[in-house]
């Protein structure tokens, strides 16, 4: 195990990793922190994952000359691109893809409203409030064009 295991430094590197890998201008720090904490807890349940995570985070710091946390999102992304095929990054990416986007604060930042049945659905809350295109036909077509199901009688 490396010195970053279970340390705040490791947690900070992980949060920066998530921000650099999944950069969103409007998503606040909270979802990244919660995803990092969930990932640390997940890894704690499996020695292999724990070692993979600890080593990976220590390596990132080393690859960034000791300060991955201080990198910009763009520089962090460039560095992560170099290690994207490692089991460490695959584990972080898969976990974040599920958990970072399962956070109500992320939803709000991206414009997703979450549960709706408890609010009566969207029947009176904008299911058809799009105003930049005309109201389309909803019934089956009844014009002069006939649907021709087959181009040929038999065979291609």
């Amino acid at each position: 195990m490396t010195s970053t295991q279970d340390t705040d430094r490791a947690r900070q590197v992980l949060i920066r990793t998530l921000q650099a890998a999944f950069p969103h201008a409007n998503v606040p720090r909270g979802p990244y922190e919660r995803t990092a904490d969930k990932l640390i807890a997940d890894a704690a349940g499996n020695p292999f994952n724990q070692a993979t995570l600890a080593q990976g985070l220590a390596d990132l710091d080393a690859l960034a000359d000791g300060d991955f946390v201080g990198l910009s999102n763009a520089d962090g992304y460039t560095l992560l691109k170099r290690i994207e095929s490692t089991p460490f990054f695959g584990y972080v990416r898969r976990f974040a893809t599920v958990n970072l986007y399962d956070d109500p604060e992320t939803w709000a930042a991206l414009g997703y409203e979450g549960s709706s049945f408890d609010k009566g659905g969207y029947l009176t809350r904008g299911f058809n409030d799009l105003d930049w295109l005309p109201e389309p036909r909803i019934t089956a077509y009844e014009g002069p064009v006939k649907f021709v199901p087959i181009k040929t009688k038999t065979g291609v």
């Binding site: 999944f22 409203e113 029947l123 389309p136």
Partner: protein, 534 residues
């Protein structure tokens, strides 16, 4: 493993003895099994329904994508192989189906187009296609018309038999305007299996947008809210949830005589049977037949043709998500209430046989992140997610070619929670599938570009929701597993009532056809029982 808790309880309805060999045993309670249960009990037949999943009610469903997925999805271990993306992206999730009373009807989208007449005769109309195991169905469009009409009334499909259409939601605004602009004619908000107006004791849609999570309002048809409660009310149904069937046994004459299953506690039980109907969806059904191999049926029950598990189809699918400079809010409203049928024709000039539909589709932020482009990360990925509120989405779904090498087999190297070999799903796209998908992407993107899309993304197929073909119907016993009624060629009192009987897949979403075929099969079973032929 899905939870075994559901507020519907551990048992429902009548109680028949396990030694009662006069009952019909139905395995599965989804579109096929639920319909069979309903029609047999309505005709006075005593039925035991063994459902592997729990008995949830609509009050148990949750408007949360991952939580609902964990609650409902069939998550027993499966493995994958082949050149498709699933072994890389979702190696243990080849299919996205439900393990619960009501089966996959509890999360289906609701699109209910019929097959075109020529799609019952794919071999005749498409001709010989290299690598494709095409065959005409032993039943045709003329014969099916009556059953389609009954099935539409059961489901309450909009736009059919006088029922009203659903209104346009935001995603449909973009979709239909684009379709019109590129010159398509045959678009509408249905036919669709969710009530536009109150129907059959169930309410009209509140446009809540949660289709794949279980519909909490009851506006969407499922066997959970329609066929199962009606069947329970007859007093003729013994419904046993959390009952995972492991083997169908047979007597010396080769007739099915009982079903072995694991109950909620994992104890092996035996239910005797006069007739067995299997409706476990196209992965579990062939798995069960293969697991039921015996000295009399060494290659698996009903498998003298060698076709059990083969010709697995999952429909040619793909999605297009397009980003605009103005809000869409695609997640508001009925997810798939929008279809374009123009491309569902067979027109080999497009470079492929068969056709496809384009249908509105929306995923919430949680699912879009996982499925829009599995494996993608960084600014390209977050750019797609940042545009979420301004995104419109569609699904492209069409006929894929049956191939003998696309198949479900038993993987003896991996065991499930019961110690049983898991099913392996092997799949390679046929060249026809790839050509159709590329053309579909192009047309889908054209629809969105015509109404001002800034960009659009070609999303690959999801874990399959349409699983077909692994016990296919055939005129001749050597070409398939079941006959025109879904009766096993080799076992006279064994029937299959799910999508695995599909000889070919057609372009249409399969649920309506599964229901129509099950209605026809049940009529045949009732008649045969009365005539003492079963």
């Amino acid at each position: 493993m899905a939870t075994t808790k559901g507020s519907g309880g551990e048992h429902a309805g009548a109680t028949f003895s396990q030694d009662d060999d006069s009952v019909v045993v139905v395995i599965g309670s989804g579109a096929g099994g639920g319909t069979t249960v309903h029609d047999l009990t309505a005709a006075g037949v005593n039925v035991v329904c063994l459902e592997a999943g729990a008995y949830f009610t609509i009050d148990d469903w949750v408007n949360n994508e991952w939580e609902a997925f964990g609650q409902m999805a069939w998550l027993d271990v499966r493995t994958t192989s082949g050149s498709w993306r699933m072994p890389t992206d979702f190696p243990n999730l080849p299919a996205w189906v439900v393990k619960a009373v009501g089966g996959t009807t509890t999360h289906w989208s609701g699109a209910t187009p019929r097959f075109h007449d020529h799609e019952w005769k794919a071999r005749t109309y498409y001709g010989r296609i290299d690598g494709a195991n095409l065959l005409d169905w032993p039943v045709d469009g003329e014969e099916m018309r009556r059953f389609y009409s009954i099935a539409e009334d059961r489901i309450g499909s909009t736009h059919t038999n006088g029922r009203a259409p659903l209104p346009a939601n935001n995603n449909y605004f973009v979709f239909a305007n684009g379709a019109e602009k590129v010159g398509y004619h045959f678009y509408a908000t249905g036919p669709y299996g969710t009530n536009a107006e109150p129907y059959d004791g169930r309410p009209s849609s509140v446009q809540d947008g949660f289709n794949f999570q279980g519909d909490k309002s009851g506006a969407k048809w499922s066997t959970l809210v329609s066929e199962i409660p009606k069947a329970l009310a007859t007093g003729k149904l013994d419904l046993r949830p959390n009952s995972h069937v492991v083997q169908i046994t047979h007597d010396a004459s080769g007739k099915a005589d009982s079903v072995l299953y694991l109950d909620a506690a994992g104890n092996l039980q035996r239910q005797k049977a006069r007739v067995v109907v299997v409706a476990g969806n196209s992965i579990e059904t062939p798995r069960l037949l293969l697991q039921s191999a015996s000295p009399q049926f060494p290659d698996g029950l009903a498998n003298s043709s060698g076709q059990v598990g083969k010709n697995y189809m999952r429909h040619m699918t793909g999605s297009v998500y397009a980003q605009f400079d103005r809000p869409v809010h695609m997640y508001r409203g009925e997810t798939m209430a929008g279809l374009v049928a123009d491309e569902s024709r067979h027109d080999p000039d497009r470079g492929f046989a068969g056709g496809f539909y384009m249908e509105t589709l929306s995923l919430g932020v949680p699912f879009l992140a996982s499925f829009v482009e599995p494996g993608l990360w960084g600014p390209e990925f977050t750019g797609i997610m940042d545009a979420y509120a301004n995104t419109a989405g569609m699904w492209i779904v069409g006929e894929d070619m049956p191939q003998e090498t696309n198949r479900v087999t038993l993987n003896h190297a991996v065991k499930d929670q019961h110690g049983l070999p898991v099913p392996n799903v092997h799949f390679d796209d046929h060249a026809n599938d790839t050509a159709m998908r590329n053309y579909g992407y192009q047309q889908g993107q054209a629809i969105y570009e015509s109404v001002g899309a800034l960009s659009s993304h070609r999303t690959p197929p999801y874990p399959a929701t349409h699983n077909l073909g692994t016990s296919r119907m055939s005129e001749r016993p050597e070409d398939g597993v079941t006959n025109a009624y879904g009766r096993a060629h080799d076992v006279p009192n064994l029937f299959v009532a799910d999508g695995s009987v599909f000889t070919t897949g057609a372009a249409a979403n399969p649920t309506l056809t599964i229901v129509a075929l099950a209605i026809r099969q049940a009529e045949h079973i009732v008649k045969s029982l009365k005539a003492q032929e079963l």
